[in-house]
């Protein structure tokens, strides 16, 4: 077993991570100790940040986890479907433009009322957006990693998986890591 030949090429064990603070805070070198990892997470970022990376991941495996900062109840209830239509379309195009060989797309994580009084409304928007992105991932052959429902309790982010109602803790990152490893 020890001296078996390589099952995959070395390039296959590189992972780039892109997204918001949920990615930036992820100690990917500790959670993926045998992979070569690059973390491009940036706090307070959203879709604009993802769009800035167009063409920069040519041929790579990329993990995408972003959207929390853009999806909120800032629109009136009547405006939300139109907003989600436009946002999903841009999101889809931004991921396509990364040029990656393989995409691991995480569902946007739920939030908790501890951090956001309107978490229930925000979570409904996130849920709707996630369903759209799931269909989109199936269309493009991206690996969609649905962790939204796994992290949910009473329609909000389970407090066992968060430090502050918004950002994941180590137990949550363990779940995210296992999702990637399982689908690698």
């Amino acid at each position: 077993m020890i001296f078996t030949s390589c099952e995959k090429r070395e390039d296959d064990y590189r992972l780039a991570f892109i997204g918001d603070s949920n990615v930036e805070r992820w100690d990917v070198r500790r959670f993926f100790p045998t992979f070569i990892t690059d973390n491009y997470g940036k706090s307070n970022s959203g879709l604009h940040y993802l769009e800035d990376f167009a063409g920069k991941f040519h041929g790579q495996r990329v993990v995408v986890l972003t959207g929390t900062n853009d999806l909120g109840p800032s629109e009136t209830p009547e405006e939300i479907p139109l907003f989600l239509d436009m946002y999903s379309e841009r999101y889809e195009r931004a991921i396509e433009n990364l040029g990656a060989a393989k995409i691991y797309l995480f569902s946007v994580l739920p939030t908790n009322t501890e951090r956001n009084d309107m978490a229930h409304i925000k979570n409904n928007i996130i849920k709707d957006f996630n369903q759209r992105m799931k269909r989109c991932a199936a269309k493009h052959g991206w690996t969609y990693l649905d962790v939204y429902s796994m992290l949910l309790i009473d329609e909000q982010l389970n407090p066992s998986y968060t430090l502050d109602g918004l950002h994941p803790n180590d137990a949550c990152y363990e779940i995210l890591t296992n999702q990637i490893i399982r689908n690698y």
Binding site: I2, E7, K8, R29, R30, I36
Partner: protein
């Protein structure tokens, strides 16, 4: 006949041990690597290190170390050179290199000491990098010493600049051995504070 063979094997193993074994060491490095070391002829350590990542066995990493060490100036000055070769079980990557280290111990209990290590390191996916570490122990009690270090030697696979701080507790004559426990905090110099890592190191020498 079977008993005679057993006695012969026992005697041969015992004689080898009497001649060659000076120190055995079982240790855990950075909470994720188990180490087994045997020192031949007082100066020649041979060590096996194996990871205990929460991963499947094919992604576990192991390393073999072999080298030479010597002590000078009434054991105050110590030099060691350890060459290593490592791989994951599925052959996903290999790494090899050496730890060339020197340390000066101001007292016999090792409670005041300075250490410097040079680590030429090659990884088949990351290519060559020269890494290093500088460490110091300052005794606060008979059994406790504060530990402070700078290191860019990879804790896992990729080199990172980190400051490490902790406390080393050492109990001697525990069943004719010495037990050292050193909880440490590993603080990144260029990344966010969320990437602070807590490590436990322990070693039992007998």
């Amino acid at each position: 006949m079977r008993q005679v063979i057993c006695i012969l094997i026992f005697l041969s193993v015992s004689s080898v041990n009497i001649l060659m074994a000076q120190t055995n060491r079982i240790a855990m490095r950075d909470s994720r690597f188990l180490q087994f070391q045997h020192v031949f002829f007082k100066h020649m350590p041979l060590m096996l290190e194996h990871s205990i990542y929460s991963e499947k066995i094919s992604l576990q990493h192991f390393r073999l170390y072999a080298g030479y060490r010597h002590q000078f100036v009434n054991n105050h000055l110590r030099l060691q050179c350890l060459a290593y070769w490592g791989s994951t079980h599925n052959g996903m990557y290999q790494d090899y290199g050496a730890f060339v280290s020197t340390s000066y111990h101001f007292d016999s209990a090792d409670n005041y000491s300075l250490h410097a290590t040079l680590n030429p390191h090659y990884d088949t996916g990351l290519n060559y990098k020269t890494c290093c570490s500088f460490e110091t122990y300052v005794g606060v009690f008979k059994v406790a010493a504060l530990y402070l270090a700078f290191s860019n030697i990879p804790e896992f696979r990729q080199p990172e600049d980190r400051i490490r701080a902790g406390v080393r507790l050492r109990i001697q004559s525990l069943a004719h051995g010495t037990l050292s426990v050193c909880p440490q905090m590993s603080i990144p110099l260029q990344q966010r504070y969320e990437k602070i890592r807590l490590h436990v190191n322990f070693a039992y020498c007998f």
